[in-house]
């Protein structure tokens, strides 16, 4: 291989600008996902089929279709179906946020259902009413258990957000693509872009690992 690397040809400025957009997308999507995922989880566990089924369908739609299809679908179909025209960034946030909301709802649901039946029995034996059992026994334990999964889902969305570049959101991936075309240096540009994604994701995944190890000790 006689390719000469030239990392100096890649200017970091646009990439950093792109990273800022990517981080904004990630934060906005996570706000939607973390906050709205919880009520959605409650709907998923409803005893009433009329409530449970639409919620399940919503979650399965996002779990069973590729994220890139969801983003493209949103970009083209939402304006036509609902006659609303939103900016591409808003559209990207909505697509990523709803996707994350579906995955987080599953995380919340699994954590709530993993609270042992015996814990609830103990609450009944102590005279706590149903609401007190939910707020003092089920939720504290379930929310703690769901934190590592929520963080993992959040960082996955950080990476998935690269997909919104195809609908012209000027995120890190979009800037990298543009830069690669302009400089004829795709190898260097995408290597740097990958390193930037890695530099953000890696510490978070380390935190998740640490939280899980700590939890294992605390619950054994």
């Amino acid at each position: 291989m006689n390719y000469t690397f030239d990392f100096n040809a890649v200017s970091l400025g646009p990439l950093i600008e792109g990273l800022v957009v990517t981080v904004q997308l990630t934060i906005a999507a996570n706000l939607i996902g973390v906050i709205l995922g919880f009520p959605l989880a409650l709907l998923l566990m409803s005893r009433l089929a009329v409530i449970r089924w639409p919620a399940t369908l919503f979650v399965e739609f996002f779990r069973c279709t590729p994220a890139i299809v969801q983003i493209v679908w949103f970009f083209y179909c939402v304006p036509m179906l609902f006659n609303v025209f939103l900016g591409s960034v808003t559209m990207g946030i909505l697509a990523l946020g709803l996707n994350l909301m579906a995955f987080n709802a599953e995380a919340y649901r699994a954590a709530i259902q993993a609270v042992p039946r015996e814990q609830i029995d103990a609450g009944i034996a102590l005279g706590l009413n149903p609401l007190q059992r939910v707020f003092h026994i089920v939720l504290p334990s379930a929310l703690r258990a769901s934190v590592p999964v929520l963080l993992t889902n959040g960082i996955v969305i950080f990476q998935q957000s690269a997909l919104v570049a195809i609908v012209a959101v000027q995120d890190l991936m979009y800037q990298a693509k543009t830069l690669a075309t302009e400089t004829y240096r795709p190898i260097e540009t995408f290597t740097i872009a990958a390193l930037i994604y890695f530099a953000v994701s890696f510490p978070v995944s380390q935190v998740v690992g640490w939280l899980e190890r700590r939890r294992q000790i605390l619950t054994s």
Binding site: P116, E118, Q119, D121, A122, I124, A125, L126, G127, L128, N129, Q132, H136, I137, P140, S141, R144, I217, L218, T219, S220
Partner: protein, 258 residues
Amino acid sequence: MTSASAPLVAIRALHKSYGPHIQVLKGLDIEMKPGERVVVIGPSGGGKSTLLRVMMGLEKIDSGAVTFGGKPYISSAGPDAKTVIDTEVRRSIGMVFQHYTLFPHLSVIQNLVLAPCKVRGEKKASAMRRAQALLERFGLGAKANAFPAQLSGGQKQRVAIARALMLDPKLMLFDEVTSALDPELVAEVEQVILQLANQNMPMMIVTHDMWFARNIASRVIFCAGGVVVEDGPPEQVLGAPREERTREFIDRVFHIKQ
């Protein structure tokens, strides 16, 4: 005040099944006098734990009733009827489970004060004082701020007992509370229960530990196949059972070959 002879608990014609085919309790009748310490023994699946769970109001029943201090607090008119539970009366009863069931996200003392504060509206400071005193009494004073995961099984179970006592129960139910413990930790938990027995706490205990049963019981009930097979003082039921089924069970448990 109930008179000395009036039953503290009366269980009448109690039927309970899981699904259409598994009948666990088939018409149980038990009366328990104040101050009695009833140990329920019997083969697995005989309905012992289910009995305690019903008394605690953790299970639906098919029919029958349970009264406490003369007041019916659990009743059902039939298999399709709703099980009616008087939660006010139920609060007089405390229960300890096989698997500790401490709340893992709360410290030991928080486990103790949660129910008194939330259920009875006790002031936090007063509940904390009582909790600390109770922990000292059980040799756990230094563990007040520890979390359940930092305790041994025996310590967890003693905390669970203290937690139940915080609500001043008039009756304690112990459901195989030493079955999950390492053998060397059993004694410390049994000591605490014996301590309660010495203070005349009425209790119903399900256990497989026959030596403990003999030590603590004022009365032993042998339960099998969902009915009471034999009921009497420990010397009789454990020492010289009258019923053939009881004898077989006792022999097997004590590994005595005829």
